[in-house]
């Protein structure tokens, strides 16, 4: 699948002068499955805004986002749900786990929202790899932010996808845990022949990025 942006400028950022130097804002750009794209930007330059626009969480921008050549604004609620279940997965910067559910339930919910890609024991396998196997039965609100972040990564990887949106996915992880998570993400992308768009503050060499863009 392809995700294209055409001259998108978020309305809140319209007045910012930095937009003219961006590789993304007000430019044309296409992301295909299989590509590992890194978008680097300093704080406040609109990384999360971009991720939310690509995931169709906000509409306050000019320009257009094309989802397989179709204007995302024209998609129905059912089509959007279908895209989120089958083609685009996401790790939010603010994680968005249900605090009253356990870590396992949070992940399981995403596994069974569509026809499951993996058996439920895959949750244990992934959780053990990222070192959160022991807190699966714990309510999300009782877990540390780092643990929640790893749970959010697993939740994104448990479903089918072609493009994975990662909004500062390692912000609360140490080096070792970040590398662990990155390896898992890379493996899961490879299995699906999928790609990702990752936003972060700094440079890194955790992945073999096919493209690096400045926001």
């Amino acid at each position: 699948m392809q995700l294209s942006i055409k001259h998108i400028v978020p309305i809140p950022l319209k007045e910012k002068t930095t937009i003219s130097n961006s590789d993304v804002w007000n430019k044309e750009c296409t992301f295909s499955s299989g590509e590992f794209v890194k978008i680097k930007a300093s704080s406040g330059s609109g990384k999360t805004t971009l991720v939310h626009i690509l995931y169709k969480l906000r509409n306050d921008f000019s320009g257009s986002v094309l989802y397989n050549q179709e204007d995302m604004r024209q998609l129905t609620a059912e089509q959007i749900a279908q895209a989120r279940q089958q083609h685009i997965s996401i790790v939010f910067q603010d994680l968005r786990l249900f605090p009253q559910l356990t870590i396992r339930e949070n992940i399981e919910l995403k596994r069974v929202l569509q026809k499951p890609l993996y058996e439920s024991n895959m949750i244990d396998t992934m959780a053990n790899r990222l070192g959160i196997g022991h807190i699966l039965q714990q309510k999300a609100m009782l877990c540390s932010y780092g643990e929640q972040q790893r749970a959010a990564i697993i939740r994104a990887l448990i479903q089918p996808f072609e493009i994975l949106l990662l909004d500062e996915p390692f912000s609360h992880l140490d080096q070792a845990n970040s590398n662990n998570a990155a390896t898992l993400i890379e493996e899961e992308c490879a299995k699906r022949n999928a790609g990702f768009i990752l936003t972060d503050l700094d440079d890194d060499d955790r992945f073999n990025y096919t493209r690096k863009l400045n926001l």
Partner: protein
């Protein structure tokens, strides 16, 4: 997935509110179904054979005698056809009066009795006295007669005292043979007569039609033979339509028998009010339940929003929410029907003791209404959920 969603939605909505919503709906449901059942019981009381009053179903009708109708109280063939056409008329019988002078005397000196009398006859199907003696031909030894109970009552409780005569039971009277004298141009024709039964249905001294036809022809001369009284058989003498018809066409009948129509109108009004009350309550209960669904959805708005963000489709959520709320409705209706069946069973026993018969089971119409209400509930639930998920 459902168990996880349940956990999410359940924690957001209040349990007490839910119980109140279910309680409100249950009460309203019970009332509306009870109203239907009440109507059914009422109809069955009015129309079922077991509850029919054998006296009241036969009405003797004549034209009201006023200055206007004086001397012209005959009921024409046209009038009879008109009465026959009415929906409440099941059968019409013509009461034939005797067209000759007659008197009845006793044979015994111990029981001296003599009175002028006139007879009436009516087709046998209108007579409620079952006896093999009810027939007559020219070779018969006596004329069978049916007397109204009130004649005997009048004799036993008034006449006998004033005349110092013995009181008589029905059985005594049936054993007495009377002398029936019919005046002819050449003197008197004498017959034997015997009372073979008593009835409250028609307040005349009845003789078999065969005798009446023969005697009228023999002794009646050329007097007009148009009837002035008829008897109609009707399912429901309390039918307000019948009472109105009689009034509009200037007929008179035994007011006691049609008096029930007034009570019936009152009961009908009460039954209708119970319908309206039930319906209004149902509307309120639907409102409560709808509000409850809205409240539930509103109180877990964040959860629903996040589910949609994560990729739950509106269809999935609608399906889940309908599944969450609709089964309670089925349960409410089932419980209401069971409670109503219990009440009906109790009522059956209670009324049976008073010789009033209603069906032991609730009516199929009540069940149909229950299913219809269930359909309305399903639409309301579905519509509310759809509206709120989409918004």
């Amino acid at each position: 997935m459902n168990s996880i969603l349940k956990k999410l939605i359940k924690t957001a909505a209040g349990r007490t509110k839910f119980i109140f919503a279910v309680l409100g709906l249950s009460i309203a449901m019970l009332l509306i179904l009870a109203a239907v059942q009440l109507q059914e019981n009422y109809n069955s009381l009015l129309n079922s054979k077991t509850n029919q009053d054998s006296i009241a179903n036969f009405l003797v009708i004549n034209k009201q005698l006023t200055n206007k109708t004086y001397g012209n109280t005959f009921i024409s063939g046209e009038d009879i056809a008109h009465i026959r056409q009415q929906p409440f008329t099941e059968d019409v019988g013509i009461l034939k009066p005797s067209l000759f002078k007659a008197s009845v005397e006793s044979f015994s000196n111990r029981f001296p009795f003599s009175t002028d009398i006139s007879f009436e006859s009516v087709p046998s199907s209108f007579i409620d006295v079952q006896t093999k003696d009810w027939n007559w031909d020219e070779h018969s030894n006596y004329i069978p007669m049916i007397a109204p109970n009130m004649f005997l009552d009048f004799y036993n409780f008034q006449f006998s005292f004033s005349q110092n005569l013995p009181q008589l039971t029905q059985e005594n009277v049936k054993m007495i043979v009377f002398k029936v004298k019919i005046e002819t141009p050449n003197g008197y024709a004498l017959f034997n007569g015997r009372i073979v039964g008593f009835s409250d249905r028609i307040t005349s001294l009845l003789v078999p039609e065969t005798f009446m036809n023969w005697a009228n022809k023999q002794y009646g001369g050329n007097i007009n033979t148009q009837p002035s009284r008829i008897v109609i058989k009707t399912k429901d003498p309390g039918n307000p339509q019948l009472v109105q018809f009689l009034k509009d066409n200037g007929y008179a009948t035994d007011a006691d028998k049609t008096r029930f129509s007034k009570y019936r109108q009152i009961v009908s009004t009460v039954v209708n009010i119970s319908w309206i009350t039930g319906a209004v309550l149902l509307v309120f209960a639907l409102l409560i339940f709808t509000l409850f669904i809205q409240l539930t959805i509103a109180s877990c708005k964040n959860e629903i929003q996040q589910l949609i963000i994560l990729g739950a489709s509106p269809y999935q959520l609608k399906k889940f929410l309908v599944k969450q709320f609709f089964p309670q409705n089925i349960l409410i209706i089932l419980i209401s029907l069971i409670v109503l069946s219990g009440i009906q069973y109790w009522l059956y026993g209670f009324l049976l003791a008073q010789h009033i018969y209603i069906n032991i089971f609730i009516s199929y119409k009540t069940i149909i209404v229950a299913l219809l209400v269930l359909l309305i509930l399903w639409f309301t639930n579905f519509y509310t959920i759809r509206k709120y998920i989409q918004s």
